[in-house]
Symmetry: C2
C-alpha cells in the first residue's frame, strides 16, 4: 500500500486522504504555536506546559502528569521545566511536596503570561462558523473515536479524558446517542459530551 | 470568551471542543514525526521536505514551493535545505536552472530514505477502520471546508490543492454533492474528490 502522502494513493483511498488532511491541519497548529513561541522566546512545548499548568489542579501538575499529557519522557519535561524556572515563570508548589514528587505552579508572572498565551489556537475557532450543529457533532464524534482508537492501540497516552478515567463507564446505556456514563457527574454522557480536558478526571491507575 | 483550552469553556462550547480535539490529534502527528526524526538524526521539517521532494515534479520543487507548502520563510527553508545538501540527500537539479531559481532534487541516497520515511503517518490509517463510509465522507468534507476557510482568512497558504488551482471552478454545478469543476480533469468534483496533493495542480498566480 502506498503512503498516505502519495498523491495517487490519496485519489484512490479516502482513508489516506483523511490522514493527509488531518496532517495538513496539524501544520496549522504548528504554525500558530511557532509564531507565538518566536515572539515570546519560548519553545512551542514550553508554551503548552504553561497553559497546562494554568488549567490543572495541583494533583495533576507533577512532572509525570505533564509527561503523560504530552507523551514525552520525564527527562524532556524536566529540561523544559528547568528553563521555565530560570525565567521565573514557574516554581515548585511547596504545599504539595511529599517523598516522591511535588507539583509545579505558575509564578504570578507565569500566570499572567499563560493567560495571554492560552488563546494561541482561538483564531481557528472563527473558522467553524460555516458549519451547522449536525456537521460539528459528526466531526466531534470522529475526533473522540479516533483518539480512543489511538489510545487503545497504544500510540498515545491520554489523561483528563473520559476514556482513561476512573469514573467512566463505557456502553452501559441502551441509547446509542448517550451510551456512556460518568460516575462522578452521575449521568449518561452522549459522545459529544465526552470530555477532553476534564477537571474532575481521576486516572484509573493509582499513582 | 474563554480560550479553547479552558475545560469549562469546552463543556459549554462545541467549537472550542472541536479545536481542542484537533489540537490533540495534531500532537499525535508531532509525536510520530519526532520519533522518526530522532532515529534519523534529522529535524521533523527536514523529513517533511524530503517527502515533499519525493512526490512533486521539478516545476514544483523550488525553494519558493517548499516555503509555500509549509508556510515558512524562504530563509528557514534555505537553512534546512543546506543541511540536507551537506548530508548528501538532495542536490540542485541542473536541468531546471534558469536566471531566477532552480529546482531541488533528491540524490539516490535521499530518494531511498524519503521512501522509507514517507510512511511516518501511515499508522494512523489503521485507526480509521472503525468508521463507515458516511462518517469518513463527513469528516473529509469538514477537513476541506476548514482548510478552505483558513486559506480564505489568510492564515495559511495552500498549493497542490483545488482551492488555489488555476483549473478549479467553484460552485458551477447545481448538484450539491458535486458543485465544483476541474478544467484539467474536465469533470465535476464532489467535495470528497477535491485534492490535497494534486499532481496536475497549477497555481493561479504565474510565478
Ligand atoms: S466527565 Fe470527567 S469525571 Fe466524568 S468520566 Fe469523563 S473525565 Fe471522568
Ligand atoms: S483536481 Fe488538481 S488540477 Fe483539478 S482543480 Fe483540483 S488541484 Fe487543480
Amino acid at each position: 500500500m502506498a503512503p498516505v502522502f502519495d498523491p495517487i494513493e490519496q485519489n484512490e483511498n479516502i482513508d489516506s486522504k483523511i490522514i493527509a488532511g488531518l496532517e495538513r491541519i496539524s501544520r496549522v497548529f504548528r504554525l500558530l504555536l511557532w509564531d507565538i513561541a518566536k515572539d515570546e522566546n519560548l519553545s512551542p512545548i514550553q508554551i503548552q506546559f504553561l497553559i497546562f499548568l494554568l488549567y490543572n489542579k495541583p494533583s495533576r501538575r507533577r512532572i509525570t502528569d505533564i509527561a503523560n499529557e504530552f507523551n514525552l519522557t520525564k527527562a524532556t519535561v524536566s529540561d523544559a521545566i528547568s528553563s521555565l524556572e530560570e525565567k521565573n515563570l514557574i516554581e515548585k508548589d511547596k504545599n504539595t511536596e511529599d517523598k516522591r514528587s511535588y507539583a509545579i505552579k505558575l509564578t504570578p508572572k507565569g500566570k499572567k503570561l499563560a493567560k495571554q498565551l492560552s488563546i494561541w489556537a482561538d483564531v481557528l475557532k472563527n473558522n467553524l462558523k460555516n458549519f451547522n450543529q449536525e456537521e460539528k457533532e459528526a466531526v466531534l464524534k470522529f475526533i473522540f473515536k479516533l483518539i480512543e482508537s489511538l489510545y487503545e492501540a497504544g500510540i498515545i497516552t491520554i489523561q483528563r479524558m473520559c476514556f482513561s478515567c476512573l469514573y467512566f463507564q463505557r456502553d452501559i446505556h441502551p441509547n446509542p446517542e448517550a451510551p456512556h456514563h460518568c460516575n462522578f457527574l452521575n449521568k449518561p454522557l452522549s459522545i459529544v459530551e465526552l470530555r477532553l480536558d476534564c477537571e474532575d478526571y481521576a486516572p484509573i491507575e493509582s499513582n
